[in-house]
């Protein structure tokens, strides 16, 4: 499998009036052709900032402090906005959280998709552009595309709008798709529909996808690999199988335990105590230590490195150090048949 996207020790900060916000800290990851990498974590953990920094869609206050971004083998770390606009839509594209606001209200849906088609195929004749627009609308399963093409966003429902956004994102045949919580703003039934459409399209086009979500339930259905982020860092990364059935990081344990489906019939829904730390001055040592029931003294002093569990599975917790006491994971036992 070919690596389409790679970040090496990427750190991104927002320079605000109240100080430097270290939104993304030392993130290294790869996305391979055709796979779906899910990034999960609580709000404010840097999932969105990571993707937007790769596409350079962050406001001017955000800067890449260190690290590298390789897209399709090219180092785009220092690309200007002008250079980026050539890659956006063609190499990678993005779907946003709120379909109610991400379409231009004064342009027809057809025009907005057409614009995305034409921007990367400037010489395409008009008829063919229209054909392509209709094809895209069929691809994202918008009924009656001939009618819908000349309608405005306000005439579309939330789910339909998100499909239109998907059509726009796919118009330039991108190799990588970032989906930034594409179902969060939709209600549950529509969520399921959109996820279905998403999965079908992903299978059909084999497009590499970075799927951001804070909902592990959603992720379980779409992801090949999962990266768990906490306080701007990746704390655990592995195949979906490994993360769901053999999680190693206490934070992942906490996230999985708090899935309502696992507490069915029980009196209590376990939750993670406390709040994520502010990223203006991230705490010394492991940022998760404060909330970690398994924290050891070293967690407060030194940041854990990424420990390798298998070829594909890494986790940043001192519990994996050989000197650490043996701790049995409170979750994910199914794999061992208990």
């Amino acid at each position: 499998m070919r690596e389409l996207l790679k970040t090496e020790h990427l750190s991104v900060s927002f320079f605000t009036k109240s100080g430097e916000v270290e939104a993304v800290r030392d993130v290294s990851l790869t996305v391979e052709e055709g796979e779906v990498l899910a990034i999960v974590g609580e709000s404010g953990c840097g999932k969105s900032a990571l993707c937007k920094s790769i596409m350079k869609l962050l406001p001017k206050t955000a800067k890449i402090k260190s690290g590298k971004i390789l897209a399709d083998g090219i180092d785009i770390t220092d690309y200007t906005q002008r250079n980026m606009s050539r890659l956006r839509g063609a190499l990678f594209s993005m779907i946003f959280q709120d379909p109610m606001t991400s379409l231009n209200p004064t342009m027809t849906i057809g025009k907005q998709i057409e614009e995305a088609v034409r921007i990367h195929n400037k010489k395409m004749p008009k008829k063919q552009v229209k054909k392509k627009v209709l094809e895209l609308m069929q691809l994202v399963e918008i009924d009656e595309p001939e009618v819908r093409i000349s309608q405005y966003p306000h005439e579309f429902s939330g789910g339909m709008r998100q499909r239109a956004v998907m059509a726009i994102a796919l118009a330039g045949n991108p190799k990588i798709l970032f989906a930034d919580e594409p179902t969060t703003a939709l209600d549950v039934t529509i969520q399921a529909q959109i996820l279905d459409v998403f999965r079908r399209i992903q299978k059909k086009l084999g497009i590499a996808t970075v799927f951001i979500s804070h909902d592990l339930g959603v992720v379980a259905g779409v992801a090949d690999r999962v990266a768990v982020m906490y306080a701007g860092k990746i704390v655990e990364i592995g195949t979906a199988e490994e993360i769901f059935y053999d999680p190693r990081h206490p934070y992942t344990w906490g996230l999985l335990q708090s899935l309502p489906i696992l507490s069915r019939g029980k009196e209590w829904l376990p939750t993670l105590p406390g709040m994520p730390p502010t990223l203006i001055h991230p705490p010394k040592g492991d940022a998760f230590a404060e909330r970690n029931a398994y924290a050891m003294r070293i967690d407060y002093e030194k940041e854990p490195p990424m420990f390798q569990v298998t070829d594909t599975h890494y986790a940043a917790t001192w519990l994996l150090d050989e000197r650490a006491p043996e701790v049995k994971a409170p979750i994910g036992e199914r794999r061992y048949g208990k």
């Binding site: 596409m55 869609l57 001017k60 906005q81 002008r82 606009s85 050539r86 890659l87 956006r88 839509g89 063609a90 594209s93 993005m94 946003f96 709120d98 606001t101 991400s102 379409l103 231009n104 209200p105 004064t106 342009m107 614009e115 995305a116 921007i119 990367h120 405005y152 306000h154 956004v165 726009i168 994102a169 118009a171 330039g172």
Partner: protein
């Protein structure tokens, strides 16, 4: 149709109220209307002569009686005669209207286009030195009082440098000479434009900045569209409705500015006429000028609304649903 009918009724009521208020206020304000009719001679008039003159002009009756008489005349197409010019007020107006339309219209167009240009430039370079300079300079310049600026301009360009004429709309006998007219318009136009330009330019800048931060811009960026196209095609479409309605309302503002500039530069337009008629109590002339100005303003606001609905498709919907509600009630 009902929609336009309703608008028309509101329009009529507004105009009616406007005429009533102007009529009463002008008559209750201190001043001597006989002065505009008889000029200097008023001072030498005996009380009997005054009595007779007021009787002749119908100024002795109660204001309500005068008003109903005036309304009656208006419905017969007669707006009365000007005390000062001793002609039908419409003819007086006609002789001045062209000048004002030329001056105010040109000023309006320059402001309309200039504000858009300045606003977009500033939004484009948000926070940069060009934006900062334009913002600061614009604020300072638009704070300079109109009449003062006018006097300074006259002092510099007419008195010291002798480049430009200080008053009038054209030199004697040069009524049809376009270059002479333009020459006479430069100073008043400068005043009108500098006074209003930044006010609207700043609005465009801020509206543009709001739009640039909207989510749809992020999607447009993500699909690979360049900043120029995003700003000029996507954002522009979205600020146009509010810009047009602001500009339609600005007609009032700019008209007022034109009137002031006309007065300072003795430009023979409606503004000078309005000033004179209010000052010297040329009642009939004052009424027709305020009515005309009012009608222009109300019509502009309505035009703005209709334009808005053309550009922003969401407004059409809201109008429809509003209409459906009305239908339900009836």
């Amino acid at each position: 149709m009902l929609y336009y009918g309703k608008k028309l009724v509101i329009f009529m009521i507004s105009v009616g109220l406007l005429s009533l208020v102007t009529f009463y206020v002008s008559r209750l304000a201190p001043g001597d209307p006989l002065f505009s009719y008889y000029g200097e001679r008023v001072e030498k008039m005996s009380p009997e002569e005054r009595e007779w003159a007021e009787e002749k002009l119908g100024l002795n009756d109660k204001i309500s009686v005068q008003y109903s008489r005036w309304i009656n005349q208006v419905f017969h197409g007669n707006f009365g005669r000007s005390y000062k010019y001793k002609m039908d007020v419409l003819d007086v107006l006609k002789s001045r209207l062209g000048n004002t339309l030329l001056l105010g219209g040109t000023g309006f167009l320059i402001i309309f286009a200039g504000a858009l240009l300045l606003g977009v430039i500033c939004a484009w370079k948000e926070g940069g030195w060009l934006d900062k300079i334009i913002c600061k300079a614009g604020t300072i310049i638009s704070c300079v009082p109109e009449f003062w600026l006018a006097l300074v301009l006259i002092l510099v360009f007419s008195v010291s440098l002798r480049w430009l004429p200080s008053s009038g709309a054209y030199a004697v006998g040069q009524e049809k000479n376009i270059s002479d007219r333009i020459l006479h318009m430069i100073l008043p136009l400068t005043v009108i434009v500098t006074e209003h330009l930044w006010y609207y330019g700043y609005m465009v800048r801020n509206k543009m900045l709001d739009e640039i931060r909207a989510d749809y811009v992020l999607l447009a960026k993500a699909k690979g569209i360049k900043k120029s196209r995003i700003m000029l095609v996507h954002c522009m479409r979205n600020i146009m409705p509010s810009y047009l309605s602001i500009m339609a309302i600005s007609v009032t503002h700019i008209m007022g500015g034109t009137y002031v500039a006309e007065t300072v530069f003795s430009y023979p337009g409606i503004g000078t006429l309005a000033y004179e008629s209010a000052r010297y109590k040329d009642y009939n002339l004052l009424m027709i000028i305020s009515l005309m100005s009012g009608i222009i303003i109300i019509a502009c606001n309505m035009a703005a609304q209709i334009l808005n609905e053309r550009i922003d498709p969401r407004m059409r919907i809201s109008r429809q649903s509003e209409m459906q509600e009305v239908d339900n009630y009836e």
